[in-house]
Subunit: 525 residues, 2 copies
Amino acid sequence: MKFVENALGRHVPVEIEGRELIPYKGAFTDPISKMARRKYANPIPKSHPEWLTGESKLCKNLEDAVKRSGLSNGMTISFHHHLRNGDYVVNMVLNVCDKLGIKDLTIAPSALFPIHKPVIDYIRNGVVRNIHGSMNGPVGKFVSYGGLPGTAVLRTHGGRVRAIEDGDLKIDVAFIAAPCADDYGNANGVYGPSACGPLAYSYVDAMYADKVVIVTDNLVEYPCLPISIPSTHVDYVGIVDKIGDPEGIVSGTLRITRSPTRLYIANLAAKFIRESPYYKNNMSFQTGAGGISLAITKDLGEFMEQDGIKASFINGGITKFSVELFKRGLVRKLLDGQVFDPVAIKSFRDDLWHQETPMTMYANIHSKGCLVNRQDIGFLGATEVDLDFNVNVNTHSDGLLLHGIGGHTDVAAGAKLAMIVIPSYRKRIPVLRKRVTTVTTPGETIDVIVTELGIAINPLRKDLIEHFKNSKLPISSIEDIYSDVMKIVGGEPEEPKLKERIIALIEYRDGTIIDVVRQVEGQYN
Amino acid sequence: MKFVENALGRHVPVEIEGRELIPYKGAFTDPISKMARRKYANPIPKSHPEWLTGESKLCKNLEDAVKRSGLSNGMTISFHHHLRNGDYVVNMVLNVCDKLGIKDLTIAPSALFPIHKPVIDYIRNGVVRNIHGSMNGPVGKFVSYGGLPGTAVLRTHGGRVRAIEDGDLKIDVAFIAAPCADDYGNANGVYGPSACGPLAYSYVDAMYADKVVIVTDNLVEYPCLPISIPSTHVDYVGIVDKIGDPEGIVSGTLRITRSPTRLYIANLAAKFIRESPYYKNNMSFQTGAGGISLAITKDLGEFMEQDGIKASFINGGITKFSVELFKRGLVRKLLDGQVFDPVAIKSFRDDLWHQETPMTMYANIHSKGCLVNRQDIGFLGATEVDLDFNVNVNTHSDGLLLHGIGGHTDVAAGAKLAMIVIPSYRKRIPVLRKRVTTVTTPGETIDVIVTELGIAINPLRKDLIEHFKNSKLPISSIEDIYSDVMKIVGGEPEEPKLKERIIALIEYRDGTIIDVVRQVEGQYN
């Protein structure tokens, strides 16, 4: 296998499994866009007589839908993760494939969760050969120990839609879990027992997959409104008893962190934003559902109220905390790729200025301008960051691949103020490292790192350093914070024990390879 | 020029200007879908550094936008017609092209109106060489007399989106008039002095044109919501003083016909619907803005109220009369490609179950199922119909091409009950003919013709004939009605005086050629 050193000094292969790879060349170089390539072109659908006469697309059951889709050995099937850890559809579809004797599939979920642990069995018995998509938890661990025959590919939310639109990830059959759908395939996520809000991750699958199967447990009268997924792109509708477990889909208990250290870090981040040049009327920011992120959202809201600042929009994962800012008039618009709780679903359904943003709109670098490019502030997490401000969100220091990328890299590149907000160590393992185990997001796109030991501004941001030079905030250098962490935890952790074999590629949002993940020694258990 | 006879016995060329043509083979044969062709693939956009950093796409003015779009001789540019007879944008863009010395353009408007009469000057001076699109009024007349160097192509609403998606109509630069837009290109039609409702005709242009220019007179704060046209597909935003004349965009005076004959015809049509098997709960129908159509809508609404019938949805052009049925709970949902008055705009903007339907959703035969396929009832007009139930909506009996197709052919093919509702003659010229001057919509897709002289059911619809055999409605045969009309008007009108030259092709919704329009003898004046 031939390797080259990419722009971050990481050794990446130039080819894997017959696929030519382009090494990462810098955060804004975007080499594919200079190749005069065209996007993927769908086949012109053969006009089913049924379609012409408006016949129902209902199948007898999921098995019937799989059969009619023409799914066969070696194909690629896709899923979305709006049902998160409550999703039943991935496992159900693979069960049907197993039953039908279909082998060697590549699955392309936008993300897998612990509930998808049965995927491991389908890898073991040959139904699944490869995974293009994020793996949170057990499947990632299994893959880390070399359990997957193929080489997995991890992409950002924006990178996944880019890959599909550009034809790098060709989907034969998309299975779209839909909390609400009609018999012609129009679908949304806002009504029904498995309501999840937007279906934004799957829009690109519907647009580009050769065959599209809607899987629903809530068939409604045609035409199902609002239309997140349009009938124009749906081949079949399969009814199942339940597409998911509401407990795992939405959280009734989203909670701001209670850790005093994390509350302190969140408050530091909010204060940094307040002092920054981006804190002004019409600013925009992104929120997440993590404990620190929720705390920042709350603190920031309080500052905005005190200071009479009104934001233009919140981008991204929407929670009841974002909705509260919206309802109080502190934020005018909510742009929504994913929601996390029933309050957010209700607002998404009913409020005209709370709108769905398909992933190409959210973060596709090969669009003509997406939301993250227009976002002022983003606060993000990490498993590790290093002295070059590179960020790892995928692996732990032991080398295990346990997390997906989400929109991390996209937001970092797009937001004018991209902040990593993290404790400097977790369970005596430093989060701040000399060199991250895996680079997910390049340091040149990270502006600030906020920890309980201080705030480090990226030296590339001379303007910000100048702006904060008289600040009373604990602004420090990344090296000083690093040295403080090392004193606390007693040094760098052991290097992970890795084998030669590459088990996953980390693809930058522009389609280049920013890093690889190698197999961890030992056995999955 | 080589000709073949198509399935309707019309002689159509097999090639024009280097473009291979497929003769019409029947309403549901759809030969292109059997060719295993792929849809058009857009170039992957070159990542502007401006886009990556979220810079504004605002141009200094429209001229600057045209220049930056790279528009040059021989290219194809497109427009939508949501501003109808109030649109300023077509003329303004052509004026700029003229000023910049750009020649030989093909313009691809979804439709032209009398306000676009200046297009004639731009044809004469060489700026415009050809037209792919509907021509209502003077431009059509000018083209009829041979004024256009190229051979025009007329398509249905669904056929236009098919042609663009399939790559038969390649648009270099789309100019999208937007009543409301932000500096990044997100646009809608619901706010501002030129509000027009949906921008549904132009969605496909935005998706498939190589360059997209938003032309607006109402720049709003980013992000402009709702998003009818997304920034992800917009290259430039050009600001002008006014994109249109509100008087021509919306009608404050939509009026039900006052002609007793037409009221009688409308009432007959409503009664026919009431007696038909399609008149039941959850039925769906399409309404238009013409005087007869409005009268049917009103009568049908009264019947529904009396009979306790509630419809599922109204498809298509929405007026205050449709909104009234919606508000009274007689119709649950409005699916909207175009609105005609301020009441409809307001409902479109505010009502969650009044939603925009891009044209591929409305009527694209090369989608996996569009709205017209799901529609029960459609009532449509005609300039002529003939004994084979073929319909002409494009030309008059003198051969002049004065009207576009709209969704006529799409609805006829899709609706389970496709009705032509017409007076049997106009100004002593029979509407009912032995053979229509031009076939727009094939007779096999027309179920019923309603005139003041009687109702003719297509003999192909044996089921309907059986259903109505005991009806007290004046059901007759097309031949009998024809013979009655002939008695009144004194016979068929003179054959039009035509030259050999084909000035326009009439393309069926599946991309085949259903008829041609030949040059009329004489001079345009």
